[in-house]
Symmetry: C2
Subunit: 341 residues, 2 copies
């Protein structure tokens, strides 16, 4: 059975989502998480799933309430040396520059076009929002989808030379499939842009567009030359990060998850919302997972001092909250889909 | 098979959603829509479902893309003599009045507490928003859920004396179950409040909270005495009506539906968004349905002049757009779950 899951996951990543459904079927597999080494982390996950899903378990949770939420950047795929969506935005600025001669002297565009990333960084959040507005608004949703899809299908990671969608964490794909095989509904709840993720999350993670929650801008509907059109406006609608994550969860899902996985302080409030009891009567089983990047050899090692995916407060709270911390180096026997190690 | 569907639907309405799943199973039922009279309307629905769902059909649509959206007020349940949620808000004002002595002289509350509905109406949209803010904000999501649930479980329609959740349209429940039996994912897309609907849509319609799209206010997350809490703020987030409906659909679902059902001009843009081709290459099959309230005896007869559920523009466009118009009086052989006629 294990070989079948591995093969099906591989097919799903390389070919499409249809086979991932097949991977989710064998609930009685001897080892549903073969890329996870034996140990406390794996045991905690498997024990939790058994407690909530086994018929007759005192902590049985009806399938409809088995909601699992996953951060994306740093939890399902890499976020170093910078967020993938930032690489997309920077590439878009370069692609659009010929239509914007004014950017040659206008910051932060001028710095970006000269490759001066320190000056881009110095422009701070305001500069970043200008870049996001210039690259993520002022077009239709369909146009943005086409652009994002073309980019994700061709852009390569600067260090590994691999497609970003091939730098997803294989053990987390196994975990998604394992939860779905036990009738969990899996959602992405990411600080990343909702429209940036949706074109590929179904193919890569088996998560359909309607189960993707992310940061978003306001939209406007109109009939344009008689064609129904949604236009992306340069106004922020939801920043689905930190305290925005429980808001995004309530807005899109409307019930409290029982399983949350993250990797940074941006996931702190989502972990709190999922795992802290509402009161003494709230006995629902709950699981919090933090992916701790500890593997400088196979991936990256970072936490408290990182620009991207800073992990400090959530790590400090993990023990007292009972969250399970994944030690990538120790707990995972492979990182990416087709890496043997 | 037909008797089984009818019985299962009845059980679902009276007892809970589990049996509705059973109702959705028999795809080969001789008549999946027994409450729909034979005729052009029923034929159009059944033909559409067959075209998109039958293996080998030239217009086959993969299950993941079979998204169906339904308006709620006037489409799935009644909206006369006024929107149900308005009755809820008015009842809440009365219940909260002892804590608000200032309402005795402050409009629109004073008029409402005296039962002077004409003066309430004269306060217009601004007055209504004041009532909504006073009754739908300033509490936690959990508190609002509890209040809405207690109300919906006890409040009675002023003319029939029935629970509002028993004044859902039986033929539309059949349609929801029929679509789900053919692997459609059914969503509610309503101008009504998302938090007002979610506590009961799963039990009554078989639509889980994560498939409910509605108007919403902004939320704020905080740890209150250590407990993760979402607070409803008095600021509007999305008005999920008219041009707001395609926005709500994109925000929550992220793909274009292939089936849309509504009953008023508030659904016009949702019908346009669902059914008008994006361009000459867009050959996806699409279906638009309008429930026309033509039955003054069994329900209500209204369209162009109604305060609630005004239907004029959408009716005018129906023929040229190819939308199917349900004539309630002619097309439905029953209206409510346990009415024989």
């Amino acid at each position: 059975m294990t070989a079948r899951i591995v093969f099906a996951l591989l097919c799903a990543v390389l070919l499409g989502p249809a086979t991932l459904v097949a991977a989710a079927e064998p609930q009685a597999a001897a080892d549903p998480l073969p890329s996870w080494n034996e140990g406390a982390t794996k045991t905690a996950i498997v024990e939790f799933v058994r407690r909530v899903a086994a018929a007759g378990s005192p902590e049985f949770v009806p399938p409809a309430e088995r909601i699992a939420v996953f951060d994306n950047d740093g939890t399902l795929w890499g976020e170093q040396p910078m967020y993938v969506q930032m690489a997309f935005a920077f590439d878009r600025v370069k692609a659009l520059a010929p239509q914007h001669p004014e950017w040659a002297t206008q910051e932060p565009f001028a710095a970006l076009l000269k490759g001066d990333m320190k000056r881009v960084a110095a422009a701070g959040e305001k500069g970043l929002l200008q870049i996001v507005a210039a690259t993520h608004a002022g077009m239709t949703v369909d146009e943005f989808n086409a652009t994002a899809t073309a980019w994700i299908d061709s852009a390569k990671h600067p260090q590994t030379g691999r497609l970003y969608t091939q730098m997803v964490y294989w053990p987390m794909l196994e975990l998604l499939a394992y939860l779905r095989a036990n009738d969990f509904k899996t959602f992405i709840v990411s600080g990343g842009g909702i429209e940036f993720m949706r074109p590929w999350t179904e193919r890569v993670y088996g998560v359909p567009p309607e189960q993707v929650v992310g940061s978003s801008g306001k939209l406007k509907f109109e009939l344009r030359d008689g064609v129904p059109t949604l236009i992306k406006l340069p106004e922020v609608d939801l920043v689905d990060d930190k305290a925005g994550k429980p808001v995004g969860i309530q807005s899109h899902i409307g019930r409290r998850p029982i399983f949350a996985a993250g990797n940074s302080d941006g996931d702190l409030q989502m972990l709190q919302y999922t795992t802290i009891a509402r009161g003494p009567a709230d006995k629902r089983p709950r699981f919090g997972l933090i992916v701790h990047h500890t593997d400088a050899e196979r991936e990256y090692a970072y936490d408290r001092e990182s620009h991207f995916g800073r992990l400090a407060e959530a790590l400090d709270e993990a023990a007292s909250r009972g969250w399970t911390v994944v030690d990538m180096k120790q707990d995972w026997n492979r990182i990416y889909p087709d890496f043997a190690k």
